[in-house]
Structures are given as C-alpha cells and as structure tokens.
Symmetry: C2
Subunit: 161 residues, 2 copies
Amino acid sequence: MTSMAATQPSKDLSYLLDHTSHVLRTRMSAALAEIGMTARMHCVLVHAVEEERTQAQLAEIGDMDKTTMVVTVDALEKAGLAERRPSSQDRRARIIAVTEEGARVAVQSQKIVDGVHNDAVASLPEADRKALLHALNLLVEGHLATPAESPRPARRARQSK
Amino acid sequence: MTSMAATQPSKDLSYLLDHTSHVLRTRMSAALAEIGMTARMHCVLVHAVEEERTQAQLAEIGDMDKTTMVVTVDALEKAGLAERRPSSQDRRARIIAVTEEGARVAVQSQKIVDGVHNDAVASLPEADRKALLHALNLLVEGHLATPAESPRPARRARQSK
DNA sequence: TATTGTTATACTCTATAACTATA
DNA sequence: TATAGTTATAGAGTATAACAATA
C-alpha cells in the first residue's frame, strides 16, 4: 500500500486529503532527492540559516523528536551543509551552523519546494486556488487544529545488560 | 513526531495538506476505536457487506497489500464481524462473509465516518465547503492523481534456514 | 533536579519473499 | 505457469529509555 486511509466509497474528505498530501509528499521527496536533500534536511537548513539556533530549537520548529533531529543533523554534516558548534551560552547545546555550501543549497532547495507547490496550485483554475488555500487555512486554525490524542502504546523498560 | 512534513515557514500547501489529513486521521481513528474498529476494518467491512467479495478483491478496493488484508480479516474474524468462507467458484479464494453483528457494526461505523467528515466540513462557512471539496477533487483527478515513483529500496533475499 | 544531545533499542507498519493449494 | 491466501521476516521510520555533560 502507498500510505492510505482506505475508505473512498465515494471520494470523501479523508480520501481527498490523504491522497493529495501523499502524492504531494512523494513529489516533494523526489524533487528534493535530486539534490540529495530530504524535506527534513531542508526544514532544518532553512531555519538554521536564518538565525543561530540550537538543535532543540530546530527540533521544536520542525516538530521533530530530538532523536530524529540527531540523524537529520548527522546527514547535513555528512553532506557538508552544516556543522555542530558549541553554544557560547550553554555548553550542553549545539548551534547548527550552516556552511557556505549549505546556504547555497538552502536557496536551491527552497526553490524546489516552492516549485513543487506552485506546480500543484497553478494546475488549478485561478478561482479555485485561493479558495483551496483559504479553506485549508480555516481548518488548520479551526476544527482541525489539534490531533485527537491517540491511545499511546506504552513502552517496556530497556533491558539492562 | 506526529507524522509531519516539517516545512511550514509560512504555511504552505504541504503543511496544510499534511496537517489536515493527519489530524482528520487521528480523529477518525479515535472515533472508530470507540467501537473497536480501525479505518481498514471499516473499509473492508462495508465493501464486503454490499456484495460477495474475495480477499483479493477487497484488497484491491482498499488499496491494501494482500498481507495487510490478512491481518485485517483476522481482526474482523476475531471480533465476530466477518468470516472466511471458501468460494464456490475458486477453491483458492476466500469470500469474506459479514455476520449479522458485522452488518450492524458496518452501519454504525459508516455513521461514525460520516460524522467525522461532516463535523469537519460543517465547521467551514457554507461557501468554503464546496470550494474545498471541488478544488481537492480537481487535484486528485488532475495534477496530484498519481504518486511520483520513489526510489524503491530493494529487498534482500530471505535467509534460508 | 532538570535539560541538551547522544546512543541504543523497542515497536509499529508495511511490503517482500517463500510457501501451499489450487487454477 | 500463474494466482489466492498464508507465514515469516526484513527494513524503514520513529519514539522511548537511559546516559553523560552541564545547568
């Protein structure tokens, strides 16, 4: 399966949103992959370039777990796009410093992201474009602002060796 | 992380679609969970109740892998909502027969699904409702019809024991 | 005591491969 | 040979727990 909800008797809202978001995501991944980037690397890079930020701050912005942040920063470092630098304020924290190459790539990846979005939006008749973005914004700020909390499956304690 | 894309510098299409579909999905899961159902169980159940169908046919309809279908049918059987019956046409195939209880639950779960969708759509001003559904339909049938094929990570041959 | 970043790893999800029985 | 369903399991993704350094 692709990533799907599975209902679609007559195309309902779940199907429409799941399908469009899934397809757009595959497009985005494919487009960013051409320059060796992922959506998460892009997200971290653009927010790191605009201001000095620590991993924790960048994780917060991108709504990532701190452990996910670690692997994302690892990837950026490995690609020579960013470096971990000790914070002068807090010796526990690491500032994610974007390299010159990283800054160039950030511009490039932002263009790619904008392009993918633009291609999708521009495929709609003028009148529908604003309507779509407007309605989605209303949902995001209104009825679909926050997830229903899911019955969290707890986790066993780690085996001590 | 919840399931996120991670860009959102200024809310873009990716963020809007990812966020709304994710939140709607959590709502749907939570609502269906109250009667012990999942979206997939619901999908299989409603399509199995309307006509005699095999697992393969139901998998096709729900865009599920046949192995995912196995566990979904297992769950339905365990819950007493459906049974596997040998097909009279093809002795390899199994018809998914919905029990009386299953038929009742299908009606109930459909109400839940419709309710969740309706709550979301009804939260929008009248004018925006149609506009949203219309625009999403255009995307689904047009520019966002089919996923970009992802660089499939192949799979090693299974270890023979 | 609490927090930053790290490592290790448990868990979920889904799909691939191999298998059995049919066709 | 190909297909329906099954089992086992690989692999990706992600979050939890424990830890070290520091606050």
